[in-house]
């Protein structure tokens, strides 16, 4: 995280380049659409001096029926140093990493994990609160489908925060209580005295059946508006990993409130990804 702070400083300079990854090849392999993650990895790689290639799935061989493993073997033959992968299936990145020789960064796999998002969230929190230890952090919304929620639960717990999840029972996931979180089904109760309010996007595209009745009902009970926010601490930070659905999980005015750090999260996204690439580069073979 300290490495990220340095990267964040670099990102605010006019000259943003470093040569840590000079001569290295970074491949962005995104099987699922992404705006901020893909572009921030691309920027991170370029700022560190790497050659960055973006593989866009609609024009690749995947569309011609190639399996994930064959794609991995093919890419491996091009000898990249770093591979950043997003895939719609949980565990796909892990599978791919077994078949290539380079470093692989998980940029989100299905509903499993999104580790760099959790790191950038932690960094953003630390910059505002100077600590993570002892903070009450409420993660609200579609926990069931959220890889962001899982990564944050693991990371923030490890860093000593008190993590809560708030969602209708249909969006919590069985056994969530055994992941080291306090479980709430009411925003009022779950947000009480929270230091951080982390909203999640409602992932309708991942829902296989009617888990909530309607967007209007969801917003009424779980959308973050000023009334619900009033139960959190007055200086609570408002976070969202994006992309936001205004009026579904978050009130538009709340999203733009001074306490909202949603835009800063994006900025820290580049910094954290630079730090991650830099940390991996230390272990890359130099011969």
């Amino acid at each position: 995280m300290d490495l990220s702070e340095d990267a964040a400083k670099l990102g605010r300079q006019i000259y943003k380049k470093s040569d840590v990854l000079s001569g290295r090849t970074l491949i962005n392999l995104f099987f699922e659409a992404s705006t901020r993650t893909q572009s921030s990895f691309e920027l991170a790689g370029k700022r560190l001096g790497a050659d960055v290639m973006n593989m866009s799935i609609p024009t690749s061989s995947i569309q011609k029926g190639e399996t994930l493993i064959d794609t991995a073997v093919t890419l491996n033959a091009m000898r990249p140093d770093l591979l950043v992968v997003r895939h719609h299936s949980a565990g796909a990145v892990e599978l791919l990493s077994q078949k290539v020789d380079c470093s692989v960064v998980n940029a989100g796999d299905g509903s499993h994990e999104h580790p760099t998002q959790a790191l950038l969230d932690a960094l953003t929190i630390r910059r505002h609160k100077d600590r993570i230890q002892g903070l009450t952090i409420a993660i609200c919304g579609d926990i069931l489908h959220s890889r962001v929620a899982r990564s944050n639960i693991f990371l923030l717990n490890t860093l000593g925060a008190r993590v809560r999840v708030i969602a209708p029972s249909t969006l919590l996931g069985e056994g969530i209580d055994r992941l080291g979180v306090e479980v709430y089904t009411s925003m009022r109760d779950g947000l009480a005295d929270a230091d951080i309010v982390m909203m999640l996007r409602l992932q309708r595209e991942r829902m296989v059946s009617s888990l909530i009745p309607s967007q209007r009902e969801y917003f009424h009970f779980f959308g973050l508006d000023y009334d619900k926010l009033s139960h959190a601490k007055p200086d609570a930070l408002i976070m969202h990993p994006g992309p936001m659905n205004r009026g579904v999980e978050i009130d538009s005015n709340v999203a733009d409130d001074p306490r909202s750090v949603i835009r800063e999260q994006v900025e820290m996204g580049v910094a954290v990804r630079m730090a991650v690439l830099q940390a991996l580069a230390r272990h890359l073979p130099t011969e």
């Binding site: 249909t170 059946s209 009745p213 009424h220």
Partner: protein
């Protein structure tokens, strides 16, 4: 004596003392002679000390030793509105309820349009406020348009005043949908009331499967169609922890499933209709369509099981399953006729049959008709207690009477008790302290 002008009574707000009565409160087991004082629409006091003239400013009604019990709470009434006003309206259903000693009715959402939207809950509550004599609570649909596919807005409907949720006279066939609604409803503490009939096993059937159906040449519905659905639901209750009420059971096998689920401590309750407690498939006789209902009347052993269930307490609630149908629906060949029977006005009299023939105690019977449903629904009524709403019925337990369809207040006259001689009936019904029915012999 009883004030004749209701409005005047309401305006003057003079307390009313019901004296010389047998007070039965199924919620506490109270069964004692005494009196009961109604003031400001609640039970202000009750006990031995309330006698003729003991409360100076009060009007007095001498009950002549007859029984005062909490007004009945009927969890299953089809009230016609909106869309079926030719069969029943909230006004006529509530008059029928009052005449039956029923002070609270839950109306079912299988209307046209279906009560699956906040605006319709609001409509029912407003119509009831303006036209109904008794308390009316709408049940809302569990799934949109009762199709069993997409969950209705359970949270918003609950907040708007829907007291429970049901899929009407159809079961949710898709187990995943049922699981989701049970899980979701639990967050709001909402009660799920489910109809039990496996659609595939029921398809085309018009009466209970067995010897009688075979003799009559009618296609049968096996009792198993009900029990299979109930067993599945119990598993889903175990998985989700949602509050579940089987709207009506009708056979011994289902009772056994309920008893076992209760023994395991699951949040499961069930109801039975007055028809399945007092009638069986033989009553259909020569294709009498007034005995066609859903679930169908079963064999005598199943009826006996239902009575045993009420007596043991494993069956929590007795409902009228009031379902008015006009001649257009009923005057047809049996297989083509509509299902259902009116029941509000005969509910108490028919139920008292079980008391008079010694099968069920009066206390158990009244508990299943008032205290239990009130408790399940979180209502303050259904008991005789200081501060409880003065929703009461004065009952003559012995009075013999004959059911005459022409005398029924319901808009539809499809009663299976046509011409039946019953023993015991409501004499006066009070809703929030106001007399809404007075039997004129």
């Amino acid at each position: 004596m009883l004030p004749q002008d209701d409005n005047q009574h309401r305006h003057t707000k003079r307390p009313l003392a019901l004296v010389n009565a047998r007070l039965i409160d199924p919620a506490t087991g109270l069964d004692a002679f005494g009196g009961l004082l109604i003031a400001n629409s609640v039970i202000a006091d009750l006990g031995m000390h309330i006698t003729e003239g003991s409360i100076e400013e009060a009007e007095t009604l001498d009950c002549g030793g007859r029984t005062i019990a909490p007004g009945l709470v009927d969890m299953m009434v089809f009230a016609g509105e909106p869309g079926h006003e030719h069969r029943e309206t909230l006004a006529t259903a509530s008059r029928a309820a009052a005449a039956g000693g029923v002070t609270t009715i839950l109306c079912t959402p299988d209307t046209d349009p279906v009560i699956d939207d906040v605006a319709l809950v609001d409509f029912i509550l407003r119509r009831a406020r303006d036209t109904a004599l008794v308390h009316v609570h709408p049940m809302a649909a569990l799934t949109k348009d009762l199709l069993g596919e997409d969950m209705a807005e359970i949270g918003l409907l609950h907040d708007a005043g829907a007291i429970a949720f049901t899929n009407g006279k159809t079961s949710i066939a898709n187990a995943r949908v049922m699981r989701n609604v049970l899980t979701y409803a639990k967050d709001f503490g909402a009660l799920v009331v489910h109809h039990l009939e496996d659609a595939a096993l029921t398809e085309g059937g018009v009466m209970n499967e067995g010897e009688v159906a075979t003799r009559l040449g009618l296609r049968g519905v096996p009792a198993t169609a009900e029990t299979i659905m109930l067993e599945r639901d119990i598993r889903l209750v175990e998985l989700t922890g949602g509050r579940y009420h089987a709207g009506q059971i009708s056979c011994r096998a289902s009772l056994e499933v309920i008893s076992a689920a209760k023994a395991r401590g699951l949040p499961v309750t069930c109801g039975v209709s007055i028809n399945h407690l007092t009638l069986n498939e033989n009553d259909i006789g020569p294709y009498r369509t007034f005995f066609k209902m859903k679930p169908p009347l079963r064999v005598e052993d199943d009826r006996r099981a239902m009575v045993e269930g009420v007596a043991s307490g494993d069956i929590d609630v007795i409902v009228s399953a009031h379902d008015p149908c006009g001649a257009g629906g009923k005057r047809r060949p049996f297989a083509e006729a509509a299902d259902g029977a009116v029941g509000l006005e005969t509910l108490l009299g028919a139920a008292l049959r079980l008391y008079h023939n010694g099968e069920v105690t009066l206390h158990r019977l009244l508990e299943a008709l008032s205290a239990n449903p009130a408790r399940l629904l979180g209502l303050h009524s259904g008991r005789l207690a200081k501060g409880a709403p003065a929703d009461l019925v004065l009952i003559d337990l012995e009075m013999p009477w004959t059911v005459e369809p022409d005398q029924l207040c319901s808009k539809s006259k499809n009663t299976p008790f046509d011409g039946a001689r019953l023993e015991g009936r409501p004499l006066v019904t009070f809703v929030a302290g106001r007399p809404v029915y007075h039997y004129a012999a």
